[in-house]
């Protein structure tokens, strides 16, 4: 911080200052500025005021006053990640169909959700989005420096928008059942590509693959608040 500036005219009591008006004039050196400028105090040249645009009278006056909502220019930031959750950390998923599964964290997406993968071959968890609040971050880290996750974003995981079909009853049942079940081959290839490098990193550490394949559970006698993850 800059050193506190000296006040030329300290307040002795609220409302009573030390130095008088004329003394302050001298202190501020206004006499010197005037002398420099030939007896007058220098003034900025007047700025040209822009000619006011002619406003037309409105065509329509509403009967009642319409209330305008207050403007809100706030932009949401992606959720702040806990210190324990860094790329390459093993996470324990706590809810959903994969609860208890230990999973590798890849990156945080722009929506704030965590991109995570099993790997699929190890525990059946595919490339998936997971919320930070439903996850425990362990202190086990995996090296994911070789893995390229730049192509994955929230749109990749969004639901595909189906074109509206005409309302034919028989068409309805048949078409829906056929389309929903299969995963596109492109997604399977993406999974394999990400997992290939990850598996090599996992095999380097003994027992780590088995660890990721096992589910976490509380056993009798374990006190969750005393567990170190």
């Amino acid at each position: 911080m800059a050193p506190k500036q000296k006040t030329r005219n300290p307040e002795l009591i609220p409302g009573v200052r030390k130095v008088s008006r004329s003394q302050m004039y001298h202190k501020r050196g206004l006499w010197a500025i005037k002398a420099k400028n030939g007896g007058k105090f220098p003034v900025h040249a007047k700025q040209e005021t822009l000619a006011a645009v002619e406003e037309k009278p409105p065509k329509f006056y509403p009967a009642d006053d319409i209330k305008k909502p207050l403007s809100n220019k706030r932009t949401a930031k992606p959720t702040k990640l806990r210190a324990s959750v860094t790329p390459g950390t093993v996470l324990i998923i706590l809810t959903g169909r994969f609860k208890g599964k230990r999973v590798v964290f890849l990156k945080q997406l722009t929506s704030g959700l965590l991109l995570v993968t099993g790997p699929y071959k190890v525990n059946g968890v595919p490339l998936r989005r997971v919320n930070q609040t439903y996850v425990i971050g362990t202190s086990t880290k995996v090296d994911i420096s070789g893995v390229d996750v730049s192509k994955f974003d929230d749109k990749y995981f969004g639901k595909k928008v189906e074109k509206k079909k005409k309302k034919g009853e028989t068409e309805f049942f048949e078409a829906d059942k056929q389309e929903k079940n299969t995963l596109p081959a492109e997604k399977k290839d993406d999974q394999k590509a990400v997992d290939a490098l990850l598996l090599k990193a996992l095999e380097a550490v003994p027992d780590l693959k088995a660890y990721l394949g096992a589910r976490f559970s509380l056993k009798a006698g374990t006190k969750p608040h005393e567990l170190v993850f």
């Binding site: 324990i92 362990t138 086990t140 027992d207 088995a210 660890y211 170190v228």
Partner: protein, 134 residues
């Protein structure tokens, strides 16, 4: 039968309550019936109630209220740390600390090791049973 561990100057004790919980300290002076002056290489010399101390078997040779340097030298000479870590009480505490600090991955590896060990034991037992049966 009689008392063996006395709260005397030079007695090493374990603090079992309060801010300094778990620390090994040396009784350096007796204040009164209830309190002692206690000191340790990593703490400021302070008074503490006897109720907060658990006396150990270890005793060092010091004069009443030694200087910190003298205290540290006496502790080194008596090898308090070594004796403590070899004693069964000391070893138990070390194991407890280690178990409490285990990672989730460490606990998994521990489980695998336990299963392996149990398997080996069971095999040996089966062998012995076979021998006695035959």
């Amino acid at each position: 039968m009689t008392f063996k561990r006395f709260a005397e100057i030079g007695r090493v004790a374990l603090v079992n309550y309060g801010e300094d919980y778990g620390k090994l300290v040396v009784i350096v002076d007796i204040v009164d019936q209830n309190r002692a002056l206690v000191d340790s290489p990593d703490m400021v010399r302070s008074q503490i109630n006897f109720k907060r101390l658990s006396l150990t078997d270890i005793k060092i040779d010091i004069k009443r209220v030694p200087k910190k340097k003298a205290l540290v030298a006496a502790m080194e000479a008596a090898d308090v740390k070594g004796k403590w870590e070899k004693s069964s009480w000391g070893r138990k505490l070390i194991v407890q600390k280690r178990r409490a600090s285990l990672n989730d991955f460490d606990r998994f590896k521990l489980m695998l090791a336990k299963i392996k060990k149990a398997g080996v034991v069971r095999q040996e037992l089966a062998k012995l049973k076979k021998e006695t049966a035959s």
